[in-house]
Symmetry: C2
Subunit: 405 residues, 2 copies
């Protein structure tokens, strides 16, 4: 059979492609990888819409315990769902290489990722230089290699996408030593923290690459309903309240007149954006300080020998997962065509899903009621939807909030 590596796209259960959905529904086992990026909806929402049971795949499983799953894929259809495009993370590429080595047939389904969706700010994709990643600083580890890459891009007049760090299910150093991992709370770097780190390096290096007045675009929840795109100087953007993850930052190179027009149309100015109040800013800074302290001196990497308490694959049959008959390509196409027609009719047999739908409706109405329509923004958004400044949530709280619990 086939190992399917399926891109889920940017934000919700509806961002999967028909090709991806068709593949998922052929599978007897479906995993969700959610530590290199996250979706904006709970895993249960995917299960409901896709009609399959989905198991969360922790980092250890994907990085070092994938072989049993690949072996299983020789006899059954198995899928790993990943946020964005499958080739966005090196770890997925490595996984495909291992599948090839084991001679497991592969099916890769592409999707949108921040690497191309960043175009929604109005800057042209073909004018971006090398992408940089800004990792969480610790008290002893404050790398600045991205400063040089940024400088090189700017010398060529190119824009730079800065991917902000994500840490989900990072084991603590002490727990690793005990051979029984305990996890740090998940952390998603905010635009505020990314900018703070950039300015710190600028201060240290002093080469004028990203001074406080450098122009940038802050982007939160790209492709989701609450998308937020704001332009301004680094120091202005640092005090904008961007709300829930994921955040990304674009450093602007030489923008052409056409790009300036698009920027004006697609992004709001920092002056119009909601600001972090003193409490929010202080809370974010405190959370950063706490997190840095927790990580002080740690450089944690995955370890093939970790004991993960049975987090690896289960070889046994999974009675929850509907065993879709492999009806062949043409049947599936006909089914999809019919599915499309059904969707158009707006049929509403919610049955089992009524409770969740009612909850969703109520939530949507509440958000709608609070929704700020901001001049200049292309999508409506509500930055107050989720507040992540406090940093006091436990790992479970965070995972629950993003459907990974």
């Amino acid at each position: 059979m086939v190992f399917h590596l399926i891109g889920l796209g940017l934000a919700t259960e509806e961002d999967i492609t028909l090709k991806g959905l068709r593949a998922v529904q052929r599978c007897t086992k479906v995993y969700l990888e959610a530590y290199t990026s996250i979706l904006g909806v709970p895993r249960t929402r995917l299960e409901e819409v896709f009609g399959v049971a989905i198991e969360e795949a922790p980092r250890e499983l994907v990085e070092s315990q994938i072989e049993p799953i690949l072996e299983r894929a020789k006899h059954e259809d198995v899928a790993l769902l990943v946020v964005g495009d499958p080739f966005g993370a090196t770890t997925h590429c490595d996984l495909l290489v291992r599948a090839k080595q084991l001679e497991v047939p592969i099916n890769v389904v592409h999707n949108a990722s921040i690497m191309n969706a960043v175009g929604c700010c109005g800057l042209q994709l073909y004018r971006f230089g090398e992408t940089i990643s800004i990792p969480f600083f610790t008290s002893t580890w404050r790398p600045d290699s991205f400063y040089d890459k940024l400088a090189a891009n700017l010398r060529l007049g190119l824009h730079t996408l800065a991917l902000l760090d994500i840490k989900v299910r990072e084991p603590t150093m002490t727990s690793l030593a005990r051979g029984r991992p305990e996890y740090l709370p998940p952390r998603f770097m905010s635009i505020r923290q990314g900018i703070t780190q950039l300015l710190e390096i600028e201060k240290r290096r002093g080469e004028g690459v990203c001074p406080p007045e450098a122009r940038a675009v802050g982007m939160a929840r790209v492709g989701a309903e609450g998308q937020m795109v704001v332009t301004g100087s680094l120091v202005e953007l640092r005090d904008v309240s961007f709300g829930a993850p994921l955040h990304s930052l674009v450093l602007i190179g030489r923008a052409g007149a056409d790009e300036e027009e698009l920027l004006t149309a697609f992004a709001m100015g920092a002056a119009q954006a909601p600001r972090l109040d003193a409490n929010g800013a202080a809370a974010e800074d405190a959370a950063t300080a706490r997190a840095n302290a927790a990580h002080a001196g740690e450089r944690i990497h995955g370890d093939d020998d970790d004991d993960t308490d049975g987090a690896a694959s289960e070889e046994g049959a999974d009675s929850e997962a509907p065993s879709a008959e492999d009806g062949g390509g043409e049947d599936a196409k006909a089914a999809l065509a019919e599915a499309g027609a059904k969707a158009a009719q707006g049929a509403s047999k919610a049955t089992d899903k009524e409770k969740l739908d009612a909850h969703n409706v109520a939530r949507a109405q509440t958000l709608e009621g609070e929704g700020k329509k901001v001049a200049g923004g292309m999508h409506k958004f509500d930055a107050s939807e989720v507040d992540v400044h406090g940093g006091d949530g436990t790992a479970d709280d965070f995972l629950d909030a993003f459907g990974l619990g």
Copy 2:
């Protein structure tokens, strides 16, 4: 109501997202833009699967006659489908600006594009520099600005994606003068032609940026069933038979050890790839020469004042398009959930579609029978599926072949 700009993704009717499909099915009028890129399936296939009538939107319509469509979107849901991601082409960004100026509500649905799908060759997306475009040379217009961009990327050790030119429905200069456009045959630049142009500029400039032995990756039909990914020197790749469009080329910078491993796993070596025979190569070169002659001295741009014989929007009701009731977000979600469950069951009421499906099955079987499984390639492919070397096809032949007729 809403103007929907919907990315179709890379190749087939199944690359649309559920979000995109839901939006399409709310619309009373759906257009397909297919001159900045092309899909690998006929427009009729989209109509069948999406359950809506779709009208081809020629260049003039999108670039200079879009206002009536946007005005219409104030009162009805109207969609423009575009290949790849909506922000991949400047023309779509301009269109969104106009929609904003007219205060038409906008819904943008992201999807995969070559800008992120290029990662499937194994080179890491974050190691790419500025993207270059290689335009068709004419006898008098042989620009080389992309040579400098390529040089800048290579100095930083970065990879370079080269987008190869596409010309669909280009009016002839003489017909423009007559005010009644006639169109040149559609042309899609082959990897062979792109490399030939690169080598010509290298010979002229002599800076060693892209000498014949420079390493590159040739990619054809990325994301489609017949995807082809081949590594080799420029001079080796020039003689590989890559088959039907679309073609793209990647110039390799400094690849890390991990990238080399992925390249080896995901791409086949040029020595293993099918080669253009003398006839094919001669035919391609001849087609290039003819096309150059046809374009000699021409620099054709869109003109707002073109008379396009009624190609603009029709304001009247379109009786073909099913008028889907706007059932609200939650109903649509429930419907999609049900649609997913239906698809899983593999129901096969093909009815009206039987004839086309039978044709597709036969075609698939034929291709399967001829399919070359090439060592090192990640996807199966058949380069002989479509032959575009001759260049004797009429515009209609080409448009038919790619479903744009």
